[in-house]
Chain length 325, copies 2
C-alpha cells in the first residue's frame, strides 16, 4: 500500500486549503475555502474541512487514500489530536481529531503547520538528505519546525519550534503574544511592513519613492509591494529587507548555538525576497555564530515548496503514520 | 554482558577526573590529576588520561569492563572521535579517540561533557522518566545538553547545546567567544563574580558586609563564597543570585519556545544556590514564557548528580554504545 495518496488540509488565519497528495509529494487536486474572519466559530471551520475533504475524495477510489492530515497554525498537543491554542482561530483545547474522525472515512492526524512544512521540505524540498534541519517560516510572524534524523521534534507538549517568541531585545517591541522583544517583532512580514509604514508616515527623505508608489497612503504598504520595490532598486525597501535579514541572521545564530543544524530553510511570504533578505542574514549569521572558524557553518537556503509546504507535509505525515515512511 | 562496568573520564579546564561506573550509575573507584594550566600540551593530557584509566583498571577483571568514555569541555564532532575545539585546552581538531584507542584496551568514545551530564541525569538523576530534557550547567559559563526520547541530540556537527552563546542582549557584554551579549555573560558563575567584584570595588553601600567578608579585596570573591553569604542572608549576595536567576529564567523561556522540554535540569557549581537562584528563575520563566496560560509549563529542578554527572554520563554513554541501553 506504499503508493496510496493522502489528503492534506492547511488551515491558516483566513483560509482552508486542501489537496490530494501523492507519495511523491505531488499535488493532484485542490480545493479551497476562505474563512470569514478571525472569530469564525470552531464548528464552521470543521464544516469547511469536511466539505473540502469530501470534494477532494469525490471520484477517488477510497482504497487509494491512506489518511487525512490537517496542518493548523497553532499549538497542537503531542498526541496530534488536540489544538491547544490557535492565536488566529477560536480554538482552545479543541479535540479536533476526534470531532473530524466522526465525520471522515480515513484516519485523521493533526499537526502544527510549521511542523508539516519542515517535513515536506525534508521529504520533497530544500532539506532533502539533511539530518538536522531548522525551518523558519517568515510570514506575518515567524513559524518554526525542527527535524532531527528524519523525525519532527514536536517537544514535550507538542509545541516546539515557536522560535518567533524567543526574546532578542530585552524590553523590546511588544508582541501579540504579550511579551516584549520577541524575535518575530524584528524579523517577519509584520516587522517589515511596520517599519516601512513608520518611514512613509514620517515622510523620511529615504521614503520619497515609496510614498509615490503607495499614493501617499501607508495603509497601502504590503510585504509583497516592499519586496517588489526592493527588486526594482528602491533604497528604502532594500534597507528594510537588510534590517529584517540581519535580525534573521542573529536569531539563526542563536538557534545554531542551541541545535547546531546542518541547514536552515527559510520559507513563508517574506522569503520571496530571496538574496535581498538572505545575504544580509548570512552576513549577520556568520558574524554572530559562536565558535566561528572552529566549526562547519550551516547552509541557509530558501524553501522550495512555497505555500504548499504545509498542505503537502500534513498529508505526507498522515500517510507516513499509516503506511510508514 | 549487561552488567559490565565502564570507565568514565571527565576533562575540565583544570583536572582529569576518572571513575569506574557500574551499569546502575554508581561510582566504584576514583582517580584524579590536576592539569598544570590552560596551555597544557594535548599530549600531556593524553598521558594523564591513560594513567588514570590504567590505575582504575588495575585489579579489575578486563572482561568486566565494557568501554571507556571521555567527557571533554569543548566541541566534539558528531563522530564522537574528534575534539574540534576546546576553549580551555589546547586541542584543535584533535583526533583524541584514535590517539587514545592505540593506547587503551577497551573501546573509547568521546563526548562533550554537557552531553554526558544530561545523559547521566536522564539515566540516574533528576531527569529520569522524561522524554524531552534541557540541561543547563552553570559553571564559569553555561554548558548545555539536550535529550529527546532517550537520545542525546548532538546536532549536525556534534556541537548542539551551546546555549550560553545565544545572544540575549544586543551589543551587550563582550564574551570570551568573541561575540557580545551572550547569555552566559548574564547567567553564570563568571557573571555572578564579575558583578559582585564591581559592587565591592565601587564600595556600594549594599556591599559593606561583603567587603568585610573578603577583607576588602575583590579578588577574594568566589561563586561559592557569594552563595554561602546569600544563605546567611547577605542582601547583596541574594540580589545578585536573583539577577542571575532572572536571566536564567529568560533564557530558559527562549529555549522553551524553541524546544518545549518537559523539564529543565540546572546543574553546575552555581546551582548549589538552590532556590535562591531557581525561585527568581521560575518567576522570570513564567513571565517570559510565550503562550503562557495556554500550555503546560516545564518543571525547573536542580541536577542530582552534581560534579559527577559528566564522569558518570561519559562512562554510561560508552557502555551503552557497546552493550546497549
Amino acid at each position: 500500500m506504499r503508493d496510496r495518496v493522502s489528503i492534506g488540509i492547511d488551515i491558516g488565519g483566513t483560509k482552508v486549503a486542501g489537496g490530494v497528495v501523492g507519495p511523491d509529494g505531488v499535488i493532484a487536486g485542490r480545493r479551497r475555502r476562505d474563512t470569514p474572519h478571525l472569530s469564525t466559530a470552531a464548528t464552521v471551520i470543521e464544516d469547511l474541512i469536511v466539505e473540502v475533504v469530501e470534494e477532494l475524495m469525490t471520484g477517488l477510489d477510497p482504497e487509494s487514500v491512506a489518511a487525512i492530515g490537517i496542518g493548523a497554525a497553532g499549538f497542537v498537543a503531542a498526541d496530534r489530536a488536540t489544538v491547544v491554542f490557535a492565536p488566529h482561530l477560536s480554538w482552545r483545547d479543541e479535540p479536533l481529531r476526534e470531532r473530524l474522525q466522526h465525520r471522515l472515512p480515513k484516519p485523521v492526524f493533526i499537526d502544527n503547520d510549521a511542523n508539516a512544512a519542515v517535513w515536506a521540505e525534508w521529504r520533497f524540498g530544500a532539506a532533502r538528505g539533511h539530518s538536522h534541519v531548522v525551518m523558519i517560516t517568515l510570514g506575518t510572524g515567524i513559524g518554526g519546525g525542527l527535524l532531527w534524523e528524519g523525525q519532527v521534534i514536536r517537544g514535550g507538549h507538542g509545541i516546539a519550534g515557536e522560535y518567533g517568541h524567543m526574546q532578542v531585545v530585552p524590553d523590546g517591541i511588544r508582541c501579540q503574544c504579550g511579551n516584549r522583544g520577541c524575535w518575530e517583532q524584528y524579523a517577519s512580514g509584520n516587522a517589515l511592513v511596520r517599519e516601512a509604514r513608520a518611514l512613509v508616515t514620517s515622510r523620511s527623505p529615504i521614503a520619497m519613492d515609496m510614498i509615490s508608489r503607495v499614493d501617499g497612503d501607508p495603509a497601502n504598504l504590503t510585504g509583497p509591494l516592499i519586496t517588489e520595490a526592493a527588486r526594482e532598486g528602491d533604497r528604502m525597501a532594500i534597507e528594510l529587507l537588510a534590517e529584517i535579514g540581519t535580525w534573521l541572521g542573529v536569531g539563526m545564530a542563536n538557534l545554531a548555538a542551541a541545535f547546531d543544524p546542518g541547514i536552515f530553510i527559510v520559507g513563508g511570504g517574506v522569503s520571496a525576497a530571496g538574496d535581498l533578505l538572505l545575504d544580509p542574514a548570512r552576513v549577520a549569521f556568520a558574524k554572530q555564530l559562536t565558535g566561528r572558524g572552529h566549526r562547519p557553518e550551516a547552509r541557509i537556503v530558501v524553501a522550495e515548496l512555497g505555500n504548499d509546504a504545509g498542505l503537502i507535509g500534513a498529508a505526507d505525515l498522515a500517510r507516513a503514520s499509516v503506511d510508514g515512511p
